[in-house]
C-alpha cells in the first residue's frame, strides 16, 4: 500500500519521507556482499590464533592443492611486491600480512582465493604455521614499564612501546589555579573502555581488475571513497585514473569504515594478480577482533574550583591504548588525540592542560572515531564525570555547578582557552528546556520517595558542546588531502536535477536531505532531484562522511553550488523576460520582474531555456560545481538528562527515561534528525551499560561475537524524549551544524552519572563503564545494598 506522507512537503525544513526507503523496505538495497560478478572468486584470511609470536615458518603446500583453490598468498609473497606493509591514516605503518611476527590475535597472516567461500575457508585449515610465543602485553601501563618487550621492533631504533607523546594548553596556569589557597581540587581515574562500532554490515570489498583496460574497480565498504582511491594509488602504484572505487549502499559505518583494512588490500592484490574479480567479506568475529576498535582511554582527570563552585582550571592525562599499530582515524597526524582539546566543553574555564601518551599493545590496531568527531566522546565523558565528582566534593547540586560554569549567550561567539571559536548558542537556556521537560523538581521528589522506600533511582546530567564538520582544510586533512567537500549540480531541460556529492551516506539519508537543500535553494521539488554519491568516477572529489561532516561541509557545498546555478538562472530569466537582471527578484521557485507579478519565469522554464534558447554570450546548460572549505568547525551542543532504576537483586540498570535537548543549528529534515538522535542515544546506552572489548592475560579476545559483544536490543532502550533548540551556526551557509554524533557523545556520561547518583548515598563517587549487572551488583554487595 502507498499512502501520502503524514507531514507534507518536500523542501528544506520538512520531515520528508526518505527517498531511499523504497529500495530498502523491499530488500533491494545493494551492499558490497550483494555484488556478484561473472567468474568471481572468494578470498578468506588466515588470522593469528595468538597475540604475540614470531612467525617461524609457514607452509601453504597442502592449502594450494585443496579443491577450488586458485591462490594462496603469505606475507613473504606480498613483500616481493612491496605490499607486505601499508601506511596508516595516522602516519604509522601496519602489516598487511605478517612477515616477521604476530602482534595481535586475529592479525592477518595469509590469504586463500578459491572458487567459493567454503573452499577458501576449507583451505585455511591446511596452511601450516609455526609460531614462537612471545610475552604478551595487554595492559598499556605495563607496556610502558622499562624492560617491557618491544612490540614494534619492525621500527628501526624503537626501544619502548610509546607510539606518541603529546600535550596542549598551559600547565603553568593550571598549576597556579590548583595552588590557590581557596581551591578545592578533585582528581578521578576514569577509564573509557575499548568498544566497537559494530555496524550491522561488516567490512568487505570486491576488487575487479580488467586486464585489457588496466582498470581496477573496487566495490568497497568505504565512508571515504575518494580519499581511499588516492591512497590506493599511492600504495599500489596503479595510476589513479585507473582506479575506481564504488561505495554502494553501506550497512552502517559509525567510523569503522574510514580506515583501510588489510582485507581490502589483499582482495585488490589478488584481483590484480589473477585478473578476476575477487570478493572479501569478513565475518562478524573478524570484524570485532581485527577491525578498528574505539576509545580505550585511561584518563586521570583533575578540576580545581572555588568553594562556591567556579572552576579555576582543569587538567587531564591520558594513557591511550592504540593496539599494535597506530591506525587511528584523526584529521591528520598533528591531532594524535583528535579533538580531545575540546575537553573544556561548554564551560567557561580559564586554564586547561591535557597530555597524552599513546601506547602500543598486543591488541587490534586503532582507534577509530566511533560515531564521534575524533575523541570528543572521551573528552566529554571525562569532564562530565569529573563535574559530578566535583559536585559531590563541594556538596553542590550537579545542575547548580553546571549553571555556574556554563558559557553564557552573551559570551558567544566564545573563544575557549584551548583556542576553539564556538559558533553561537545559549547553553543555560538549553539546559532549562531539558529541566522543564524532565520536570526536575518532581523528579527530585520522586527520588526522595524512592529512597525512602529503598528503591535505587538515579538522575544524571550532561551538558556539552560537540565539535564537528572538519576542515578547515588548513587544519584538518587525510594524508595531506584537505578536508573540504564538494557538490556538483546539473539541471536537466525538463527542470529536474541530479546532485553528485563527495561524501557517502551509510544510512544518514543523504538522498533525501541533500535533495531538500537543493529544493530549498531552487524551488524544484526534492522528488525530482536525484542524489548520487560513492562512485569515484562519477562524483566530485570529497573527503567522505564521518565526524558529522556531511551537512556542515557537503551540505554547505550543496547550498553554494545551488546558489551559483541560481545566479546563472537569473541571467537566463532576464534574457527571457527581456529585463535587466538587477530588476529581477527571486520568489522561491521563479524569477519575477520587480513590480510585475505576471512577468515571471519558473526554474523549470529557465532550465528548458538553458538548453533550447541559450542567451547570447552564455554557455549552454545549467550546472555547477562547488568545493567548500569551511572557515571553522561547527559546535552543536546539548543538555541531556538520564533517569535510571537499579534492581537491588540483580544489579540490572534500566534507563527509564532519557531527555535530550540538542541544538544542531537549522534543521533540514527534522524526522531524519530525530532518527539520528534515537540511534545515537541507543548506542550511548549500549556503551554505558553493555559494550566492552576485553582480553585475557595472553591476549585472547573475549568479545569476538555478538554473544559476547552485546549491543542493545529493543528491550534495553526507552522511548526518547527529544527537545529542540535551534541556534543557526554563525558561519554555515544554511545555519546547520550537524547532528549524528552528539547523542553518542553526550549520553554515556548522563547514564553513568545517573547510576552513580543512585548509589551516592553509600559514598559511591565513580564507576567505570560498562555498568553491567555483574559490576553493579558487586558494588551493591560491597555496600550491603544488594537484596
Amino acid at each position: 500500500m502507498i499512502v501520502a506522507p503524514q507531514k507534507n512537503g518536500s523542501t528544506f525544513g520538512d520531515s520528508m519521507l526518505r527517498k531511499e526507503d523504497a529500495r530498502f523496505v523491499r530488500g533491494s538495497g545493494h551492499y558490497v556482499d550483494d555484488v556478484q560478478l561473472k567468474g568471481m572468486l572468494h578470498l578468506s584470511l588466515l588470522r593469528a590464533p595468538v597475540a604475540h609470536a614470531r612467525l617461524k615458518s609457514i607452509d601453504v603446500t597442502r592449502a594450494k592443492a585443496a579443491p577450488g583453490v586458485k591462490m594462496v598468498i603469505t606475507g613473504a609473497d606480498l613483500a616481493a611486491h612491496n605490499l607486505a606493509w601499508m601506511p596508516t591514516l595516522a602516519g604509522d605503518t601496519q602489516a598487511v600480512l605478517v612477515t616477521d611476527k604476530v602482534r595481535f590475535q586475529g592479525q592477518e597472516v595469509a590469504f586463500v582465493v578459491a572458487d567459493s567461500r567454503y573452499h577458501a575457508q576449507d583451505a585455511l585449515e591446511l596452511i601450516d604455521v609455526e609460531y614462537e610465543a612471545l610475552p604478551v602485553l595487554v595492559d598499556p601501563h605495563k607496556a610502558l614499564e622499562p624492560g617491557a618487550p618491544i612490540i614494534r621492533d619492525d621500527k628501526a631504533g624503537k626501544t619502548d612501546n610509546t607510539c606518541f607523546e603529546w600535550s596542549v594548553g598551559d600547565n603553568g596556569a593550571v598549576q597556579a589555579a590548583f595552588n590557590r589557597p581557596d581551591a578545592v581540587v578533585v582528581k578521578q581515574q576514569i577509564f573509557y573502555p575499548r568498544i566497537h562500532p559494530a555496524p550491522m554490515e561488516t567490512c568487505g570489498a570486491v576488487a575487479d581488475y580488467d586486464r585489457a583496460m588496466g582498470k581496477m574497480t573496487i566495490y568497497m565498504t568505504s565512508q571515504a571513497p575518494h580519499a581511499h582511491r588516492t591512497l590506493f594509488a599511492i600504495v599500489s602504484g596503479l595510476p589513479e585514473e585507473q582506479i575506481r572505487i564504488i561505495s554502494p549502499d553501506i550497512g552502517g559505518g559509525f567510523g569503522g569504515k574510514v580506515p583501510i583494512y588489510p582485507g581490502y588490500v589483499c582482495a585488490t592484490a589478488a584481483s590484480l594478480l589473477l585478473g578476476k574479480p575477487v570478493k572479501w567479506m569478513e565475518s562478524r568475529s573478524e570484524n570485532l577482533m581485527a577491525d578498528s576498535f574505539a576509545r580505550d582511554y585511561h584518563m586521570t582527570s583533575e578540576i580545581a574550583a572555588t568553594k562556591d563552585g567556579k572552576i579555576l582550571g582543569t587538567r587531564v592525562h591520558i594513557v591511550a591504548d592504540h593496539g599494535a599499530f597506530n591506525a587511528h582515524a584523526q584529521p591528520g597526524p598533528e591531532w594524535p588525540t583528535g579533538f580531545f582539546p575540546i575537553f573544556t566543553s561548554c564551560y567557561d574555564i580559564p586554564a586547561a592542560y591535557a597530555s597524552a601518551v599513546g601506547v602500543y599493545t598486543n591488541k587490534a590496531p586503532g582507534g577509530i572515531a566511533y560515531r564521534c568527531s575524533f575523541r570528543v566522546t572521551e573528552a566529554i565523558y571525562c569532564i562530565e564525570r569529573t563535574m559530578d565528582v566535583l559536585a559531590d566534593e563541594l556538596g553542590m547540586d550537579a545542575i547548580e555547578l553546571r549553571k555556574k560554569n556554563l558559557i553564557t549567550k552573551e559570551q558567544q561567539p566564545y573563544r575557549s582557552v584551548m583556542g576553539w571559536e564556538y559558533d553561537g548558542g545559549d547553553y543555560p537556556a538549553a539546559l532549562d528546556v531539558a529541566l522543564k521537560m524532565a520536570d526536575y523538581p518532581a523528579l527530585l521528589e520522586e527520588q526522595k520517595k524512592a529512597r525512602a522506600e529503598g528503591r535505587l533511582m538515579g538522575i544524571g546530567f550532561t551538558t556539552f558542546t560537540e565539535i564537528v564538520g572538519a576542515g578547515p582544510g588548513k587544519k584538518c586533512h587525510i594524508a595531506g588531502l584537505e578536508m573540504f567537500d564538494s557538490a556538483e549540480l546539473r539541471l536537466h531541460p525538463t527542470g529536474k536535477a541530479i546532485l553528485k556529492l563527495g561524501v557517502k551516506s551509510q544510512g544518514q539519508g543523504h538522498e533525501t536531505t541533500f535533495a531538500q537543500i537543493v529544493a530549498g535553494e531552487l524551488g524544484i521539488p526534492a522528488e525530482h532531484i536525484i542524489v548520487e554519491e560513492g562512485d569515484t568516477d562519477n562524483t566530485p572529489y570529497g573527503l567522505g562522511t564521518y565526524g558529522s561532516r556531511s551537512t556542515p561541509v557537503a551540505g554547505a557545498a550543496t547550498a553554494v553550488v545551488a546558489r551559483k546555478v541560481r545566479d546563472k538562472a537569473k541571467r537566463i530569466a532576464a534574457h527571457l523576460l527581456e529585463a535587466n537582471p538587477d530588476d529581477l527578484e527571486w520568489t522561491g521557485d521563479a524569477f519575477r520582474v520587480k513590480g510585475s507579478p505576471d512577468q515571471t519565469k519558473s526554474m523549470a522554464e529557465i532550465a528548458f531555456a538553458a538548453y533550447t534558447n541559450t542567451p547570447p554570450g552564455e554557455e549552454a546548460g545549467l550546472e555547477g560545481v562547488a568545493y567548500y572549505d569551511p572557515p571553522e568547525m561547527t559546535y552543536p551542543f546539548g543538555a541531556y538528562i538520564a533517569i535510571v532504576d537499579i534492581d537491588r537483586g540483580t544489579g540490572v540498570v534500566k534507563v527509564r527515561r532519557f531527555i535530550a535537548v540538542d541544538d544542531c543549528g537549522v534543521r533540514i529534515n527534522p524526522m531524519i534528525i530525530e532518527g539520528q538522535m534515537h540511534g545515537g542515544l541507543a548506542q550511548g546506552i549500549g556503551t554505558a551499560l553493555m559494550e566492552v572489548i576485553e582480553f585475557d592475560e595472553t591476549g585472547n579476545h573475549l568479545n569476538s561475537s555478538f554473544m559476547d559483544y552485546q549491543i542493545v536490543t529493543a528491550l534495553e532502550v526507552p522511548n526518547f524524549e527529544l527537545g529542540e533548540f535551534v541556534t543557526p551556526s554563525t558561519h554555515h551557509p544554511l545555519g546547520a551544524r550537524g547532528v549524528a554524533e552528539s547523542p553518542t557523545v553526550g549520553s554515556p556520561s548522563a547514564i553513568v552519572n545517573a547510576v552513580v547518583d543512585a548509589l551516592s548515598p553509600w559514598g559511591v563517587r565513580h564507576l567505570d563503564m560498562p555498568m553491567t549487572p555483574a559490576r553493579v551488583w558487586e558494588v551493591l554487595n560491597a555496600n550491603g545494598i544488594a537484596e
Binding site: D21, G29, G507, L715
Partner: protein, 159 residues
C-alpha cells in the same frame, strides 16, 4: 544432496552440499540478496526468513533442513500488485530504518508477529523484535512502524 524447496511460492530442485547454510543458498545460489548476513551466531537476525511461515535465522539453518519446506524472503513480502505491504510502508512512514541492512529481517519478524497478534502492545513488539539487532534507529521508530502497520492492516487488506 538434492533438495526440493518452495521459495517465495516457486518450487525449486537444487543440488547442495550438506553443509551449505540456508543464507548462502538464498543469497548466492538464488541471488535473493535482500536476506543479509550480519553475524554467525543467530544474534543479529539480519538473515531472518520465514520457514513454513515461522521466522528463522538462515545463518544457522542448513539448506538441507529446508528440504520439503517453504521459504519466504523479503522479496516476496510486497502485495501481489507490487505495492509495499502495510508493514513495509510502515517502516517508510515512521522512519523505521536508516542503513537498511537489518530492515528485511525486521520486516519478516514483524510480519510473523502481526500475523500471530494483530494488535500487539508496545512491550510485545519490543519483545518480538528483540532477536533482531538494529544499530541505527534505537528501535523506537521500528516499534512505531509495526504499530502503524497494525493500525493500517485492515485498510491494506481492503485493497
Amino acid at each position: 544432496m538434492q533438495i526440493k524447496v518452495e521459495v517465495n511460492g516457486e518450487a525449486r530442485v537444487d543440488e547442495v552440499e550438506p553443509r551449505l547454510l540456508l543464507v548462502h543458498y538464498i543469497r548466492e545460489r538464488l541471488a535473493l540478496t535482500g536476506t543479509h548476513w550480519g553475524c554467525d551466531t543467530s544474534n543479529c537476525g539480519a538473515c531472518t526468513v520465514l520457514l513454513d511461515g515461522q521466522p528463522v535465522k538462515s545463518c544457522t539453518v542448513l539448506a538441507v533442513r529446508a528440504d520439503g519446506h517453504a521459504v519466504t524472503t523479503i522479496e516476496a513480502i510486497e502485495n501481489p500488485d507490487g505495492t509495499p505491504s502495510a508493514l513495509q510502508e510502515g517502516f517508510r512512514q515512521k522512519h523505521g530504518l536508516q542503513c537498511g541492512f537489518c530492515t528485511p529481517g525486521m520486516i519478516l519478524t514483524g510480519t510473523a508477529l502481526l500475523r500471530d497478534n494483530a494488535h500487539p502492545s508496545e512491550h510485545e513488539i519490543r519483545e518480538g523484535i528483540s532477536g533482531n539487532l538494529c544499530r541505527c534507529t534505537g528501535y523506537e521508530n521500528i516499534v512505531k512502524a509495526i504499530q502503524w502497520a497494525a493500525e493500517h492492516a485492515e485498510e491494506a487488506a481492503a485493497k
